[in-house]
């Protein structure tokens, strides 16, 4: 199959269309606007709908309506916009509705900046919005993987009737790489007997709802949802390991940052330090088993993240604090240099785990 050169944001849009998504509701925000622009151009030509909402809040509620009506539906935004969508993410969870949400992160808090960031890790993995719930969070690090996880996102959303967030950053959204877009994936023709399509006078009415006034009923719903989450944690965690077999120091990093880690690992190994990388592809569920399997062999871990120590909590939990975990942070839109990471590897190698 032919490779095409694509921007990350456009790859998401094209892959979503390939996955059978014909409805996109969004609101412009840098650095993800190309997703919307691509959809605006393409959807009318393939019988789909691109609709620019009056706000992120309206957009996510349109997603709720479209999902409830049975469609594969996408919205995309960047950090401040995701804050606004959080209300809807909670309702999607409470209603057990499938949807795919793209967050091309930028620096925060507040209006922050427009440069790349990974500061929404907590937002994405610790339930964005009120109440007990999770989203599946996919974190690709190259354009081909963006294409692949976008297809997977729609499949997982339908399979588990829940939200899947594709968590990228300004680098991934803006950079170009060749990728193969396979048009033979599942386009979501699966039956959705719960969808609101009208009873046709042939079945009982369907109700999509997140209100349970009886606490026992709500608790039961939440218990059931967490049983599902347990199954997902068991079956859907994904990661890539790079030179971890003999590694004394294992970097844990996702997204664009993980690519820079590989450079730092090459530099460290040239200096005789055995470093490796464990790259989570799913941030929720976090690849705990894979990390735990490396906990005995490694001397220390380093969480390399464009945030002030968010993912590091999951690394510590995953290895049950068996080994020291150091933090290598850049934030506010500053991207790590390989030298930043190398310096941290050397420090950790010398016993400084700060």
């Amino acid at each position: 199959m032919e490779k095409v050169l694509m921007k990350g944001n456009e790859a998401i849009a094209e892959a979503a269309i390939n996955a059978g998504c014909r409805f996109f509701f969004g609101y412009p925000i840098t650095p993800q606007t190309e997703v919307a622009a691509y959809m605006a151009k393409k959807m009318p030509k393939i019988g789909g709908t691109y609709l620019q909402a009056e706000s992120e809040i309206a957009a996510i509620n349109m997603v709720i309506g479209a999902s409830a009506a049975g469609a594969r539906v996408l919205t995309s935004s960047s950090s401040p916009g995701i804050s606004l969508k959080s209300e809807g993410l909670s309702y999607l969870a409470g209603c057990d509705l499938p949807a795919v949400i793209v967050n091309i992160q930028r620096g925060g808090p507040g209006l922050g900046g427009i440069q790349p960031s990974q500061a929404d890790y907590f937002l994405a993995t610790r339930s964005s919005g009120h109440g007990d719930f999770h989203m599946i969070v996919l974190a690709p690090n190259n354009i081909q993987e963006i294409v692949d996880v976008t297809q997977k996102a729609f499949d997982l959303a339908d399979k588990y009737r829940m939200c899947v967030m594709i968590l990228g950053d300004g680098i991934l959204g803006q950079m170009m790489e060749p990728a193969i877009i396979d048009a033979s994936g599942n386009t979501g023709a699966a039956q959705k007997p719960w969808a609101l399509t009208g009873t046709g006078g042939k079945r009982k009415k369907n109700i999509v709802n997140s209100l349970y006034l009886q606490p026992e009923e709500l608790e039961e719903k939440n218990f059931a949802r967490y049983e599902k989450y347990k199954e997902i944690a068991e079956n859907e965690a994904m990661c890539e390991e790079y030179k971890t077999d003999d590694a004394d120091i294992i970097l844990v990093s996702y997204g664009a940052t993980s690519r820079i880690c590989k450079n730092a690992i090459t530099m460290a190994r040239a200096e005789g330090i055995k470093a490796g990388l464990l790259r989570p592809i799913t941030l929720w569920p976090f690849p705990k088993k894979s990390l735990m399997a490396r906990a005995d062999g490694a001397k220390a871990f380093i969480s390399v993240e464009m945030s002030m120590g968010q993912m590091i909590e999951d690394v510590k939990l995953a290895i049950e604090c068996k080994k020291p975990v150091a933090l290598c942070s850049r934030t506010g839109g500053i991207v790590h240099s390989p030298e930043d990471i190398l310096a941290k590897i050397k420090a950790v190698n010398g016993g400084d785990f700060s």
Partner: protein, 253 residues
């Protein structure tokens, strides 16, 4: 014996939770009668709001979805865009539609979204126990305007039909009341028109229904109807504020 009056088929067997004297029951019935008469229950999807009518999904015999506070028109937009052949309506109170959901209301109207909005205006937040609403009248006492709504401090009530009538996307906006038989009959006609417009693809239609809240107004049902006539109707005059008729077809076609 022949049956001369019965419950509309589009209403479920569930017993309304509404307070005695509340007009939600009448308005629900009018919608259900219209769904029956137009024979569209099987293709209708209703959107319930947050407010007293949050449980509306239990009362209508069509597919239903419960929306976040104020977001019903956005949810309805999503449903309608996916299945344009479905008839989609929202049922919203004044806090839902004219305060927290103002943006969703205005923009679904300005897009000429082909949906039907039933807007119940009783000038108070009912479910939370009687607080000031965007439609609370100047001087009206509520839990959060205990000295009467002071326009210097709290501003003015919003006249929704007048506001939406200024938008090119609004096909039909009418204000009705359910305080007496004559007005109820007129309200039914308006509700039917708002649904018929959607069937015919004419675009955004809203019916504002002036209603009572005896519990939170602290009045008996009868006193409430009198209060509505004496206070609400002068501020919110009944009538058709917009009726594009067939003009809208070009825009929505």
């Amino acid at each position: 014996m022949s049956i001369v009056f019965e419950k509309p088929k589009a209403l479920s067997e569930n017993i309304f939770h509404y307070c005695p004297g509340c007009t939600h029951g009448i308005i629900h019935r009018l919608i259900a009668e219209v769904l029956d008469e137009l024979d569209i229950t099987g293709k209708t999807v209703g959107v319930a709001p947050v407010g007293c009518s949050v449980l509306a999904y239990n009362y209508f015999e069509c597919d239903m979805i419960q929306a976040a506070h104020g977001r019903a028109p956005a949810v309805a937009t999503g449903v309608k865009r996916v299945n344009p052949d479905n008839i989609v309506f929202t049922y919203q109170g004044d806090g839902d539609l004219a305060a927290i959901g103002t943006a969703e209301t205005v923009h679904s109207a300005s897009r000429g979204e082909n949906i039907t909005v039933i807007f119940v205006n009783n000038a108070i937040y009912g479910m939370t126990g009687g607080q000031m609403a965007p439609t609370t009248l100047p001087g009206q006492i509520t839990q959060t305007s205990p000295y009467g709504r002071d326009i210097k401090q709290a501003g003015y009530p919003i006249r929704v039909c007048e506001m939406l009538a200024t938008l090119d996307g609004t096909a039909y906006a009418e204000r009705v009341s359910v305080d007496n038989v004559k007005n109820i009959r007129a309200a039914k006609k308006a509700v039917k028109k708002a649904f018929t417009n959607q069937v015919e693809g004419k675009g955004f239609s809203i019916v504002e229904v002036i209603s009572t809240c005896p519990t939170n107004w602290g009045l008996s049902p009868e006193e409430s109807l009198n209060w509505l006539r004496e206070n609400m109707l002068p501020y919110y005059p009944l009538g058709v504020y917009k009726d594009k008729g067939s003009e809208s077809e070009a825009q929505n076609g």
